[in-house]
Amino acid sequence: MTMWRMIGVVGLVVASIARGDAAEIAPDQRRSGLSFMAPETQAMQSDDTANPAMLAVLDGEMLWKQKAGAANRACADCHGDATASMHGVAANYPAYDDLLARPVDLEQRINLCRVRHQQASPLADESRELNALGALVARQSRGTPIEAGGDVRLAPFVANGKGLFMRRQGQLNLACANCHDDNWDRRLAGSAITQAHPTGYPIYRLEWQGMGSLKRRLRSCMLGTRAAPYQADDPEMVELELYLMSRARGMSIEAPAVRP
């Protein structure tokens, strides 16, 4: 009896490891992280008067009009009303930058704008100001389908990002795909694993009790697998962001989202 039970247990463990390298998620099976959340957390996101990320949008509206840098220019001085000029913009990021000849994400674009056009110093990674402007811009794409990665010049960067997503790394020897392609229908301790479609960044994360960009979320994931996280300006970080966004192409932006 006892022996049989032990064999049964061994069989189960092997089966769960063997589940390993499955295929990418079929387009019609893709789900936003929103659909994995508890109803209470969904309600917090869907009501703008209760969504704490809207505080960042509010700050962003203020910063948008604030003059900065040697050029003494505000975002609004060039771009006017963000609700019109920024409509759909975030759905295309990370996007190809002609001068740098590589993709830049939304936060990097905001900082390039500051340096190039406002002649101001870049805002610190994950600063309240940068996430506020990011939230304001991303908010204007709510409901628009993600289009990032369509530019042919981005193809090699998307491919690099995919390679990083599939590559096992860290002390736990896990690739992103091991959780988010192969086991998204399961749970890790109390948390849903989810499919890793970045539909709502920057997000208000309950764990953080504040805002964070996709880069911050990726760093958390990498720390979770005991891997050395990429830095915000590492090319790998942007390539991974780009692959994730292109993988979610066609899904609706829901920024600024709430996540557990």
Partner: protein
């Protein structure tokens, strides 16, 4: 840079019970956390909230460290007359 989101219906009929929702940006540092070197991170929370309707208090709250960051409060009031709703948050380090 403190921001508040306040939601009140712009119009209501006399006698309607209307819901008021407020979100205030604040870290709500509990005072129970420690730094890596073991020092206590000092408490920094909002302790008091009130809502006055044409000068009359209709709702008041006392907040403790168990309130989440960026405190959210939703409550009700009877729309008695046209006028002004005044919200006040006060707390540690002279926050108001």
């Amino acid at each position: 840079m403190a921001s508040a989101l306040i939601n009140v219906p712009a119009t209501a009929k006399h006698g309607d019970i209307v819901e008021i929702k407020t979100l205030m940006s604040h870290i709500m540092e509990t005072g129970f956390r420690h730094t890596e070197t073991g020092a206590v991170v000092p408490r920094n929370i909002i302790t008091d909230f009130s809502c006055r309707y044409n000068g009359v208090e209709v709702f008041r709250a006392e907040l403790f460290p168990a309130f989440s960051a960026n405190p959210f409060l939703a409550f009700f009031t009877v729309a008695t007359e046209s006028g002004t709703l005044e919200f006040r948050w006060a707390g540690d380090n002279g926050f108001s």
